[in-house]
Point group: C2
Chain length 342, copies 2
Amino acid sequence: MSPEQVIGSINGINAKPMRVGVLGFGGLGQAAARVLAPKQEMKWVAAADQKGYAYDTQGLNADACIGIYRAQGSLGYFEPSGTLSNRSIQDLIERADGVEGYFLALPNLPNTFMATVAQQFIESGWRGVLVDALKRTSAVEQLLELKDELQKAGITYLTGCGATPGLLTAAATLAAQSYAEIHSVKITFGVGIANWEAYRATIREDIAHLPGYNVERASAMSDAEVEALLDQTQGILALENMEHADDVMLELAGICPRDRVTVGGIVDTRNPKKPISTNVQVTGRTFEGKISTHTFTLGDETSMAANVCGPAFGYLKAGISLHRRGMYGLLTAAEVMPQFVR
Amino acid sequence: MSPEQVIGSINGINAKPMRVGVLGFGGLGQAAARVLAPKQEMKWVAAADQKGYAYDTQGLNADACIGIYRAQGSLGYFEPSGTLSNRSIQDLIERADGVEGYFLALPNLPNTFMATVAQQFIESGWRGVLVDALKRTSAVEQLLELKDELQKAGITYLTGCGATPGLLTAAATLAAQSYAEIHSVKITFGVGIANWEAYRATIREDIAHLPGYNVERASAMSDAEVEALLDQTQGILALENMEHADDVMLELAGICPRDRVTVGGIVDTRNPKKPISTNVQVTGRTFEGKISTHTFTLGDETSMAANVCGPAFGYLKAGISLHRRGMYGLLTAAEVMPQFVR
């Protein structure tokens, strides 16, 4: 493809739907399948969980897949397109060569897991787009180390593309434009879920941020132990100064040093209503010397699933557009404008 | 340049500063010069007004240029780098071949003016990046018609890259990602300026949106007539359902049909304090069927100049990055993530 091409029609890149996959089929992966279901521009053709995968070039049905997964514990039981496998991701990558991009809706436990998956893609020879919704700074840093390998492999990898990091990091990047210098980026999130058991991995990742916990300890907790902890706190997890990759992403984008970025929030595991409105506040000094704050606030009725999966597919579409132009390597949510998927 | 290149280091594109110019030297052009003054990554080397231009590959001094312009009415009097000319833009383009990009801080009067300037660049053989802060839908539509010509000429043109359209349109694009369908995008701006005479062209463009006025009538008004109108309204211009290019830009980006986008605002020409906080509200339906609204609000202490010029140079930097990769044509602020200029 010639590098001298029209770039005006980014959103009309193809009449044929983009074929996409979802790796991981817990709460987030299932929500991703539901987000994709009504889309014209993307067709969901591949998915994997720990015990198996499903692949159908004609498209997978979200309700049917979720039903099988809930009833039998794996997409591998799905007929006729499911296959049981204890190396499900590996097998799916090898078989599903028509997939243009994947949303990695995997819990990052252990903290090196996403980088390991990226390595599998690199080694497989597959070329396409990968999007993750990683949260921790250290996890994104591991991906950054794979930058050159991803580029050589012909993979366009977009990291930190969920809600925060992701949507709110991108909003901070936009907000920063009005200022000559950024003094602080303060991200505060509120999450309300009716039942923590629908997001077992996500809640464990949150617990890992509490004083006295880490990723290993949280991931080793039994459901009963999580339950006991939540009983002590009336179901509330209050998180401050979290290790969140918004900091490294904004630093890489040249917005401000990472220590000016703080992330905290309140998770209510017993109430779908958000305890506080999720927002990002960007404070800086304008060229005239005025100090001010721009604020981006998410509507309370929008769920974590909507604010993670929507942006993830918006970045996947933007990534496919870059990939088709031969642009490979690693980018973050702060560097690319996501594209609305119809 | 090979299309297969590392895209991870978008923000570290060059140790050498980008050489940029500003066309137009009214309130907005002068603010643009001041915004650029402390930047390490961009060097301001070229500027033009109606009667002349200044060009110095070593860089122009903002205070000195503004002083000359205010005292003598044109940058053409600036020594030693000024030249008087009644075809200043044309002459500058021909002479300043080392300029990588221009911010077109020109009043778009008449409404076809920006497209005419784009034509001059196309015909000149110059290759680089152009960024405008156009406001009207019809003006952006004229640029859209030049898309193929811009691409063939090797020009990367980013349109609608000020505050609104621009920063707020991009924020709306981000906000839309959480939703399956967008019901409305409502932009409301507040502008407070101490003295309308510092923004004569901008205020006339605002007046053109009032009932009974149009671009021709507003642009033909004498200062005394503007003064008389503002006396009648106590200095307030209240604008509703304005013809604003946010609508066509969001439609092109696939967010929603243009009739779901509304723009209105209040301009106080006698008070630097904003009469209301500028904001964009994006209302939609999530994949779960919830209706909600994301809101992006600008800090009241940020001026129109900061919210227009900052984003404009952020888009110029992003545009230069695209141009260096051989991507030419026309894009809007809703399609590209602006990059923070240090």
